[in-house]
């Protein structure tokens, strides 16, 4: 399983864009990169997944450089309800959750 490294915490204000970068230097050729969001007292929720370049959905964008050794989750115009823990996971059906990034959005 590829190990991931992401910041422990990030602070932001409403309306700003939040970018969380995840490092995964030993990503395998077949591995996808997936991001999850977890609110307190809830299970993680799938946000976005990508293999290379850029992926965008109604919630976020995911940027993956050509070497795929890192990825950046971009949350546009965050609101207070985006305060959560964000996890970056790589590959395999057995998910290995790291510590995640606690994003705190302030008014």
């Amino acid at each position: 399983l590829a190990k991931t490294t992401q910041p422990i915490s990030m602070d932001s204000y409403e309306g700003q864009e939040v970018n969380i970068t995840c490092s995964h230097n030993n990503i395998a050729t077949n591995d996808y990169i997936t991001w999850y969001q977890q609110f307190p007292s809830q299970g993680p929720r799938f946000i976005i997944q990508g293999y290379k370049t850029k992926v965008t959905n109604e919630v976020a964008s995911l940027f993956i450089p050509a070497d795929r050794k890192s990825s950046t989750l971009s949350l546009p115009r965050v609101s207070l309800s985006d305060t959560a823990v964000y996890y970056c996971l790589v590959g395999a059906y057995k998910l290995s959750f790291g510590a995640g990034t606690t994003v705190t959005v302030r008014a």
Binding site: Y32, T34, Q42, G43, Q49, Y93, L95
Partner: protein, 113 residues
């Protein structure tokens, strides 16, 4: 996507007893997973449960402590046996809907006294 429910949502148990947690999915899925999330911590995979075969346990978790059943493609149970306060956690089940994407249940919050 998949809709996943868990029962009970929470429970308070006495040490030495056992609790069985149920996980129900609204569609047939091959792979189901059980995780534990201790207070303030990240998720730790307990085991993978495939229908028709024995569950596969991760390092540090054993069948005697966490027996799992997977009788069909929409249901699984996890039993936490001979509980101690250290077993106080949130227990989550998840299913793999497509490659490398899992959907999680709401979790079962367990407190052992």
């Amino acid at each position: 996507s998949a809709v996943i429910s868990q029962k009970p949502s929470r429970d308070i148990c006495q040490r030495g007893t056992s609790l069985t947690i149920q996980c129900q999915v609204d569609s047939q899925v091959t792979m189901m997973f059980w995780y534990r999330q201790q207070p303030g911590q990240s998720l730790t995979l307990i085991a993978t449960a495939n229908q028709g075969s024995e569950a596969t346990y991760e390092s540090g978790f054993v069948i005697d402590k966490f027996p799992i059943s997977r009788p069909n493609l929409t249901f699984s149970t996890l039993t936490v046996s001979n509980m101690s306060p250290e077993d106080s956690s949130i227990y989550l089940c998840s299913v793999e809907v497509r490659q490398e994407t899992q959907y999680f249940g709401p979790g079962t919050r367990l407190l052992v006294l």
